[in-house]
Symmetry: C2
């Protein structure tokens, strides 16, 4: 495992900083002016549009409100820019031009880092699939028969993918309890999170083009934290036979910084042992998961954030590269900016479950927050925060928080 | 019902022309040069970018390779442009400028008429839902319990929506028959069509904004024919529990002209009687379906096109406006360029079924084409064509064909 690379930005050398020189995650920021691309370093944001204008970086589309242009350039360009930034920010290499291109992170607004082309959500957590299968269907046959053969996924809604910190209203929808004669329309009473990672597709494929798992891995630009907010009561009523629709269409929150595959490279790890041999087009060809410590906190309005889940990305059954290879396998064209949700990441024990549905076992066992509040599902004003980092020797690769606060439903009725 | 409006473009006055002055559908064309917006009139395409440049139309974004700018302007702008075009093309109003802006349809290439923001496919045909429920699940409980209460839909894949005439390869995928111990990977053997209409969303909504059915209807710019190609064997293995994914991701074909709501207005009709009262947010507020005669032909390679289905859009249970109101009901943001597939349109009898799955009852009863070829599902080289028109007094509002030819699977294995 590599060690801390020291930067002249002093705060980047703090072993607890999420953004050391080893990280260099890409995002989009503004400071009362036009949104443009930047990288996080310590407690600062480096203005890549300014560096590009000053000739310190090659023209890479950084003077845009989205990373898509840069993401479409592919792995050689990504590596080249990373090498240049590493050099520019390395201890001893400070200059007035570089200092002028730094902004305090506390003083900028972070935007959605890329234009989401399409959003696909997978279901690659074995424990989660087992838990949900037990709760929604039959504990005896909790895992669907295809689950060990296919990275199951569904198309989600890209128009409501939002950046961390975006507040939104509790969704409304058709609800029908098992005892109700007729459905009603009203605010979801079983609003939930799903702790996920999101893989960000950089390179596209053409319609009809299939790709190997290795090619798929090369297409991935980086990763974000992803909260796939879910209205369980809307979901239960609507999802048969064609899958989740409005239950997950109202909001999906991602963390503001895209952490590159290069930054995560020292933390690559293998998928768990295969219970059934995978077909060649999605067979493992190397370690493509990552050892990323993940947690969720929940805070009641004005209350203390309480950790309600701690788990790891390395528990998933399928890697994002396998998911992407499967996604393209029919001939489906993939696009720069496609976002692939991993599926809910639930470890094998209760404190490791990545959704309230699982933590409270369908709402039967409330959890208690540090202020004494009890919760089965999310109440109005609650704040949910996902956090994640990979732990190196004396440094960490952090993602920045993925935060959402729920406003009351509006226009009820 | 209105009568034929006569145009100085003589071919538009033929009672069998799909594109009389009453129609004026919008599309995107090129003739060896840059794609731009046009309208179909008789056997000609009128170059709207040229008219805009000549000052005969207000600046409406017609000098672009997609209708999205114009579609985002809303119903007053749509009505204004329609009124101006009607006047410019009315009998007696020919001019040299107008004649110069006409191109022969046979000499132009028609492109995808708008950039598809997101693609959603619904399931609003009662007979189709009953047929598929009978085939895939249980004939005794064929209609899912939610079906009469919610316009069921799922998010499809926008990246593979293509214009009529686009050829594509037979999809590959994971397949597992009921007798197979393990799945395999190979070309779909049960490739199918779904005869649908597509509603094209012009006006967007914000995240969290709900809309009435009337507001939803106002947001719809127009309609196209839509073939939701489906690989039934991939679908059968993958679709539980999260719905269709790769089985429908490889291609969706639409007709090249967007027929506006104004052109279809004389053909509005009501949905069928409600079997269960709908909740207020999707309750019918007026006639929002259309009397559109639809047909499908199938041709073996080099063979005669044989009509295999004739049905009508008016048989659907939910209108596109109801589907759109439901789509936004959770707070899901809708976008200019969203495409909503109606669901397969199957009439009550066998010759009216909109998919081969239904026509051949799951592949058990082959159909015979006019050349004597028999088919259960689509074979390589087959050409499938959807056609549709609304019949007025001495004129028809046509859509232009929605055609696809299947190439053999590539890179097998």
């Amino acid at each position: 495992m590599t060690e801390l690379l020291r930067s002249w930005v002093e705060t980047a050398n703090d072993p607890d900083s999420p953004f050391p020189l080893n990280n260099l995650p890409f995002g989009v920021f503004s400071a009362g002016d036009a949104p443009r691309c930047g990288v996080a370093i310590g407690d600062r944001v480096l203005d890549l549009a300014a560096l590009q204008a000053a000739g310190l970086l090659p023209e890479s589309g950084f003077d845009a409100p989205a990373l898509n242009s840069f993401m479409a350039k592919g792995k050689e360009a990504w590596a080249d820019i990373r090498a240049r930034l590493t050099d520019l920010l390395r201890e001893g290499n400070a200059s007035d031009t570089l200092r002028a291109a730094l902004q305090e992170m506390g003083g900028v607004t972070l935007h959605l880092p890329f234009t989401v082309a399409e959003y696909t959500d997978f279901y690659a957590g074995r424990q989660h699939a087992f838990n949900v299968g037990s709760l929604f269907r039959d504990p005896e046959n909790a895992l669907p028969p295809n689950w060990l053969h296919i990275p199951i996924g569904y198309n989600g809604r890209a128009s409501t993918v939002v950046v961390s910190g975006t507040e939104f209203h509790r969704p409304m929808g058709q609800l029908k309890g098992p005892q109700d004669a007729m459905p009603g329309f009203g605010p979801s009473k079983r609003l939930d999170i799903e702790l996920e990672m999101g893989a960000v597709v950089g390179l596209p494929t053409e319609m009809g083009q299939r790709i190997s798992v290795d090619e798929a891995d090369d297409m991935i630009f980086g990763y974000v934290l992803l909260n796939d907010w879910s209205a369980r009561d809307i979901q239960a009523w609507e999802y048969q036979p064609l899958g989740p629709f409005q239950a997950k269409a109202f909001a999906t929150t991602i963390s503001p910084w895209v952490v590159t595959k290069a930054a995560l490279a020292p933390f690559r790890c293998a998928t768990p042992p295969r219970e059934k041999e995978l077909l060649p087009h999605i067979r493992d060809t190397g370690p493509m998961l990552y050892d990323i410590d993940l947690s969720v906190t929940m805070a009641a309005p004005g209350g203390t954030p309480t950790e309600i889940c701690r788990t790891n990305y390395n528990t998933l059954y399928y890697s994002a590269a396998q998911q992407l290879a499967h996604h393209a396998s029919s001939g489906c064209a993939m696009r720069t900016g496609d976002l692939l949700g991993s599926g809910t990441i639930s470890g094998p024990e209760k404190g490791m479950f990545g959704s309230l549905l699982e933590m409270t076992w369908g709402g039967r066992d409330p959890i208690t927050l540090e202020g004494g509040e009890t919760r089965t599902f999310i109440e109005d004003g609650d704040t949910l925060t996902l956090q994640g980092h990979a732990q190196g020797e004396g440094y960490r690769i952090g993602f920045g928080p993925c935060v959402g606060t729920i406003l009351p439903a509006r226009d009820q009725g």
